[in-house]
Symmetry: C2
Subunit: 627 residues, 2 copies
């Protein structure tokens, strides 16, 4: 089973995963400062480590049978693997000086763990070695004196008596040390990422990311015969999508665009007989002004011929269930329509880790003047919360403006609405007894209450009034509208290659905004993790849709010709790996699962990129800067 093999591979991280409980015990039990610090170092635990720990209920000895971390190096062991059965062995360790004590002990750290090394030799002087210096130690493994045994450390029963120590590279004063109790601000971490990456948490994130993607490949290639095809990133502009970076060439005035996804290529691959395609693809979007977006990101891109919506959903459920490093519910995942998502949760990406739901109460208003021609929704919540704070009300005021709807707080319902109406509302909202009402345009009301729902959930949770699950709750949202109303006519809800729902195709000319599509999004805990659709394979339908969207089909001649050449029906999906890994690792931001992320505004905190370019480059690329 692939799932068990994921877990097997996860084992290797057990070297720096010890339970928070154990580490706390270490701190409690140990009398001296050093041990407390050391205990704390190992205590760098977040929620996810506990979850990871659940996967790591394994004998640590098994690790070596599957992977060898010392091949092709001059160390014999990592700093995390020596055990009592190694006592007496001559070993070579390499790593960073994590801590020095009494001019006698070195705690030597690498990304696999920490080993205590001890000097019984006057010729080695530790006094002038800065922390984070890289050393190579030859020595002999010995048992620790009984009093010095640390059962909460993987290597806590042994130490290495140093025969020879070589300083491989001396560290100058580093801007921060690797102490989990004093993790620096993100700006400093990003600026010195080459040090920040040494934190166990960052090592864990990168290593789990690598393993998870490897297992995704095993699932797709080995079990299901998919073919990974690399497609170009330098391409032509896609009409009607996000803003794409342009790349000047030495042909004056001619530019490539960096692809926002391999969409056109994967569809041409379907025409080309690569009927089970995937790619873990780098994609680019110039949306650097949005927070938590990166100008480049990674997408698991999948496309299949001779398939349909149900098949794609089943495949992705299976793939995630078998490869995800955090537990998922057994497939099938829940499916709801876009309409239901909007009318129950006020969003197209509902967070179902808690239970609040909004309710349509428009019919209660039938005899009232408060809601003529409008829609009213209520968001019931536990009445123990009491009056809302000013801060919270202020946020709601902002949302009122944003969505142009009327919002009535629970405490004002009886003031603002008739007694009859407020009683009716009270009757319908059920167990919770409190509610927020919003009145206005149907969609705007729902979206507004959707955002209030999230605010309220955090507030209620912080007071222990509702439970928010720590699990991942995945669901599919389907039956999206094919079009949305844009400033200049119809716009596509997903992209121009999405197939209309066969049951609605007769409405294309008469009521296009009522046409649903065969698109689907996968949502986890309020995050859109991915989306896809059944594609249009018929060239006439594709041409019609492009024209409805005001896109000139002649800009896509190559693509239209591919549909004409005998293109199989096909469907696919793309999953955002950065977001998926953020969830899988319980990280705070996508920047914590990316080795070298850009900061806000797309700047590289390390190198300072983007930078000015030379006159020679400007000349070569035939461009001038306009300030």
């Amino acid at each position: 089973m692939l799932r068990s093999s994921v877990l097997n591979l996860c084992k290797l991280f057990s070297v720096f995963h010890e339970s928070p409980k154990q580490s706390v015990n270490t701190i409690k039990k140990c009398g001296n400062i050093h041990k407390i610090r050391f205990g704390r170092f190992l205590t760098h635990r977040c929620k996810q480590t506990v979850t990871a720990q659940q996967h790591h209920q394994v004998a640590r000895n098994e690790i070596k049978t599957t992977q060898n971390f010392n091949t092709f190096t001059y160390r014999t062991h990592t700093c995390g693997e020596l055990r009592p059965n190694n006592i007496g062995e001559k070993v070579t360790l390499c790593g960073w000086v994590q801590y020095l004590r009494l001019n006698k002990f070195i705690l030597l750290r690498d990304s696999y763990g920490i080993t205590q090394c001890i000097i019984n030799n006057d010729s080695i002087n530790l006094t002038n070695i800065p922390l984070e210096t890289i050393v190579k130690i030859d020595g002999k493994v010995q048992a620790r004196p009984t009093a010095a045994i640390n059962n909460n450390m993987n290597t806590g029963e042994i130490e290495v008596e140093i025969d020879k120590m070589e300083i491989l590279n001396i560290a100058e004063k580093v801007p921060f040390n690797l102490r989990n109790y004093q993790i620096p601000k993100e700006q400093l971490r990003l600026q010195h990422r080459y040090i920040d990456l040494r934190f166990p948490k960052m090592q864990q994130n990168l290593r789990l990311r690598s393993l998870m993607l490897h297992n995704v490949r095993r699932f797709l290639v080995e079990k299901h015969g998919f073919v990974e095809v690399e497609t170009p990133t330098l391409f032509c502009q896609t009409p009607g999508g996000a803003r794409e970076f342009v790349v000047p060439t030495h042909h004056a005035g001619l530019f490539y665009s960096l692809v926002q996804s391999p969409q056109q290529f994967k569809q041409m691959l379907m025409a080309g007989g690569c009927d089970r395609y995937f790619q873990i693809a780098r994609c680019y979007r110039d949306e650097t002004t949005r927070p938590d977006r990166q100008p480049e990101f990674t997408q698991l891109d999948i496309e299949q011929s001779f398939t349909n919506l149900d098949n794609i959903l089943t495949m992705i459920e299976k793939l995630l269930y078998e490869t995800m490093i955090k537990d998922l519910p057994k497939p099938p995942f829940m499916r709801i329509t876009y309409k239901d998502a909007l009318e129950n949760y006020g969003t197209d990406k509902p967070n179902l880790t808690y239970e609040l739901k909004i309710k349509n109460v428009t019919n209660l208003f039938s005899k009232s003047n408060d809601c003529v021609g409008l829609t009213a929704f209520a968001l019931p919540y536990p009445n123990k919360l009491g009056k809302l704070t000013a801060k919270y009300k202020e946020k709601i005021s902002e949302l009122k403006k944003k969505y142009a709807v009327r919002v009535i707080h629970n405490e004002n319902i009886s003031k603002e609405l008739s007694t009859d109406l407020s009683n009716k509302i009270q009757n319908i909202i059920g167990e919770y007894n409190s509610s927020v009402i919003a009145i206005g345009d149907n969609e705007q009301v729902c979206l507004c209450l959707g955002e209030i729902r999230e605010l309220l959930a955090q507030l209620l949770h912080s007071k222990g009034l509702i439970e928010i699950k720590e699990d991942i709750v995945p669901l599919w949202v389907v039956d999206f509208p094919l079009f949305v109303k844009g400033e200049n006519g119809l716009e596509t809800r997903h992209h121009p290659f999405t197939a209309p729902h066969p049951n609605d195709i007769h409405l294309l000319d008469s009521e296009p905004l009522k046409v649903r599509s065969l698109a689907y999004d996968i949502v986890m805990n309020g995050n859109e993790i991915g989306g896809g659709s059944v594609r249009v394979h018929n060239v006439d339908l594709q041409e019609k849709l492009l024209k409805m969207l005001n896109i000139d089909p002649n800009k896509l001649t190559h693509f239209m010709n591919a549909l004409r050449s005998g293109c199989p029906p096909h469907a696919g999906i793309a999953l955002g790996i950065d977001r998926l890994m953020t969830l899988a690792c319980d990280a705070n931001s996508i920047r914590d699962v990316i080795a070298f992320p850009k900061s806000h505004e797309g700047k590289d905190p390390l190198s300072g990129a983007p930078n000015v370019i030379s006159e020679d480059d400007k000349k070569y690329y035939h461009i001038n800067i306009v300030k």
Copy 2:
């Protein structure tokens, strides 16, 4: 064993691999045109298919036990998998109409094979179905009449009796059909790549590429605990490298550069504790004016801490030996120094699939005026070749000019040199008896004879006078010079982060051009497949080298700080996957192992990219075009 698993995975292609011999027999035996054509379709064999065939000596039934190509689709089988044991089964096949005959037979093709389908039903009319139309066929597997059995076809013992046929997507007239005996010119193929990819050879190349890369990952991740880390492609310019594409941002005048390799990132990962890193990375170089280069290409990028030159070479040998889909000699591979490569083969990437070697004959000229202060080399070759043709002599004349050396053809040796000298040369060149002599600057003479060696080898081989092996002959070239003389002083031979050879480090100030580096190249059959080096990890040495190269270390502050922060000694390599796969697949050009290659000058034959951009884009990116 991983190697056997590669072979196992290769099995799946056996569906369209039948030996050339079999197919030729098919043609000989079959009387009717259709069968000849069909036989020829299967005869699309190149050299490499034979080699692949050697890997495919497997029971075809095993395929299904490892991979399932029909999950998540509405077909039950591919067009390559039905066998007599399926007789009686109801099946659903999908594919392209490859051939129609007698309004009764359809040859249905997908990327896994071809199945003959037969109509015993008046309601289905085949006359108006264009070839390459996509159909779905429900039917029953039946045995072919004995006379119709085709033992050279995987599915040749059965046919499918059609119950129902659905046209999924009709093909308009395609610019070329999928006939291996009439493969169109490359320009047309690239322009309609979505059709060209249907050719079995292209399918094979892409599928083998996917499998080989998957197995590289299995080797690195599962056996040796490497971590795949994705690094940015939008970065700052690297001083002193190839020309890098620039990407304007909406910050006026500020540009990213597209990375030419993850070099700086992987070294920072070493500083960051990712001590066993790899990445199958997209890289960019604006060198579109060189033939057989792509503006973007794929590189297997590997870096390790706590290692040395021998370890990296051993790792790569093991990796290639275990994952390469074409047989390689058992490691260790041959190693020669740059000096020996130059003086024996006249190149730093010797092709050792044939035996010609050049010889230094300078000492024979000691008493002659022909070679005062110069070097003379001879290239001996079999004397049966006779006089060289005019065309060949013309090429040599070009090389003479290019390298500014004197070249003496075999037939002119006795005319141009003294009898004594020509006798001495005759004595020394050994068994071959003929030779070309070149006299001039040492390096230029060698390089000139290196090119002549290649020309001559092809000529001799075409006349059956020397053997050229079809195997891959890998070798390492080591001990490169650290610097080369550039127009404005010293330039780096590899890149500025390459470590000098420890035995030569005392020459850095006095005779820098004599300093060797710890760089290494892996060469196969005259192609540089990859290269790497032990890196500089000491910040003072790095600063010294940058200054010698006239590179301002302040342009690399982030990098220098990483070296200062406790950076382990490290070394690595990068292999060019496009070139490697070209060899592995015996393809004619890297374009045959890339799904959507650009043509010469970096143009995309499909979409026409690069294109003009909009005024809005120019404004957004603050650029003007200068024509």
